[in-house]
């Protein structure tokens, strides 16, 4: 059922064409929600769902959307999905939704979502678009999770809220790295992630 070409769609988005490290999209939210792993996970799940389902919806509509208003139609579909996700978070994960504050709403303006809708779903059938959305969402999630693990451990000494740096370290004079809690810390980490990934993949800027 899943052809090699389909697999390649997902694999590409995860590695060779990763939305964050290769296309450098969605950086704003990647900085904002990675202070703690919990918010990063919730953001990852929300974004992956939104990207996958907006791709499906746009792909189903692709032959009916008048080209003159295609962007605004994409935007309406994406915003409706994002608000749905926000409503569910408010109802069932109230504390997390408060921490994510405006960033759930800002999924609407996340370049990845609109980029995949316009760049992929408008030309491809629904199932393939779904895979593309899933792949891109997961590609985004991987980077977010890596960054958030480093930020939470180094910045707060915890992981998912549990203390991982032993008290003995603090007694011996160890101090949490304040930089990691702030946005610049995420920039450095993101740079490092991109560096590592590109030196493995051998990607060279044209």
């Amino acid at each position: 059922m899943i052809s090699n070409k389909d697999k390649k769609i997902v694999k590409d988005a995860l590695w060779d064409n990763n939305p964050i490290t290769y296309q450098i999209l969605g950086i704003c939210s990647a900085l904002a929600v990675t202070v703690q792993m919990k918010t990063a996970l919730v953001m990852s799940v929300s974004l992956t769902l939104v990207v996958a389902f907006s791709n499906v919806a746009i792909s189903l509509l692709r032959n009916y959307i008048p080209s003159k208003i295609r962007i605004i139609v994409q935007l309406s579909v994406v915003s409706a999905l994002v608000i749905l996700a926000d409503q569910f978070l408010k109802a069932y994960m109230f504390d997390v939704s408060k921490q994510l504050s405006v960033f759930v709403g800002l999924i609407i303006t996340n370049c990845i979502v609109m980029g995949r809708a316009e760049g992929f779903a408008m030309q491809n059938p629904p199932f393939r678009s779904f895979l593309d959305g899933l792949g891109n969402g997961l590609g985004y999630s991987c980077v977010l999770i890596v960054v958030s693990v480093f930020r939470e451990v180094l910045g707060s000494g915890t992981l998912l809220g549990f203390q991982v740096v032993p008290q003995a370290f603090y007694d011996a004079g160890y101090v949490n790295c304040g930089l990691m809690v702030l946005a610049p810390g995420a920039f450095f980490l993101l740079g490092a992630v991109i560096w590592v990934q590109r030196s493995i993949s051998g990607y060279v800027e044209q």
Binding site: I65, I83, A91
Partner: protein, 242 residues
């Protein structure tokens, strides 16, 4: 085949998309409303408990049920009128729109009044900021404050929800004992130590850099609400000073 580029088709398509989107949003929003309201009520109660600085504070690991029990045990819900009279048999949830009545939350420890909290809200820069202000039993000193709901820019105006900003308010005065006048606590632009003379510092808190307008908004609505509750606290002060 219909002409996809015709004006009629374009308008028709736009209408259908709008209708489908709004319908699904309305259905989901209505469906989840009860669950959302439970969360919001819990959040309000948690914030009242936070503002009055409980002797045994609420910890993040507490279950909702424990928080509600703690709230019921420690907080008495009262209603006051504009001229500072307590309306005995009314609860804040029974206040109807348009009535000139205001909720007041009284924190008691072993029957002794420790603090009074009341809701404060008003415009920041982009949004309405909601919070609670708690005064000590003397009716002149800020015991604590929380701002729990807002739509200000994270990192700038959004700092109002942060601990460092709210800690600033503790121990500040709203009443000038020397001149016997009301002096609601205000947010300055910059640091209090640089802007305000030593004797006045007890009426001011540090501002948030990059969020002067939000600070101005907070100053304005604190002033408004402190004045609304002033008749009541006036009575309290009068009964306390011999």
């Amino acid at each position: 085949m219909i002409n996809k580029n015709s004006t009629v088709y374009t308008f028709g398509f736009a209408l259908v998309v709008c209708f489908a989107c709004s319908l699904s949003l309305a259905v989901v929003s209505e469906g989840l409303r009860p669950q959302r309201e439970i969360n919001e009520e819990l959040d309000v109660k948690k914030n009242i408990l936070k503002a009055v600085e409980l002797k045994t504070p609420v910890t993040p690991s507490m279950k909702s049920q424990e928080i509600l029990e703690l709230y019921d045990a420690k907080i008495e819900e009262k209603v006051i009128s504009l001229d500072g009279q307590m309306i005995g048999d009314k609860k804040p949830s029974e206040i109807k729109d348009g009535e000139e009545l205001y909720p007041l939350y009284v924190y008691k420890e072993n029957g002794q009044i420790v603090s009074y909290a009341f809701p404060v809200y008003g415009k920041g820069l982009w949004s309405t900021i909601y919070g609670y202000l708690a005064l000590e039993a003397d009716g002149t000193t800020v015991r604590g404050v929380t701002f729990y709901k807002h739509g200000e820019t994270p990192g700038l105006g959004g700092e109002v929800e942060k601990v460092w900003f709210q800690e600033n308010f503790k121990g500040k005065k709203i009443w000038d004992a020397k001149t016997q006048t009301l002096h609601p606590v205000a947010v300055v632009k910059g640091k209090v130590a640089d802007k305000v003379s030593k004797t006045e510092q007890k009426f001011y808190v540090d501002g948030i850099s990059g969020a002067t307008m939000t600070g101005q908004g907070v100053t304005d609505f604190l002033d408004r609400w402190i004045r609304v509750y002033e008749p009541y606290f006036q009575n309290i002060r009068n009964t306390q000073t011999p």
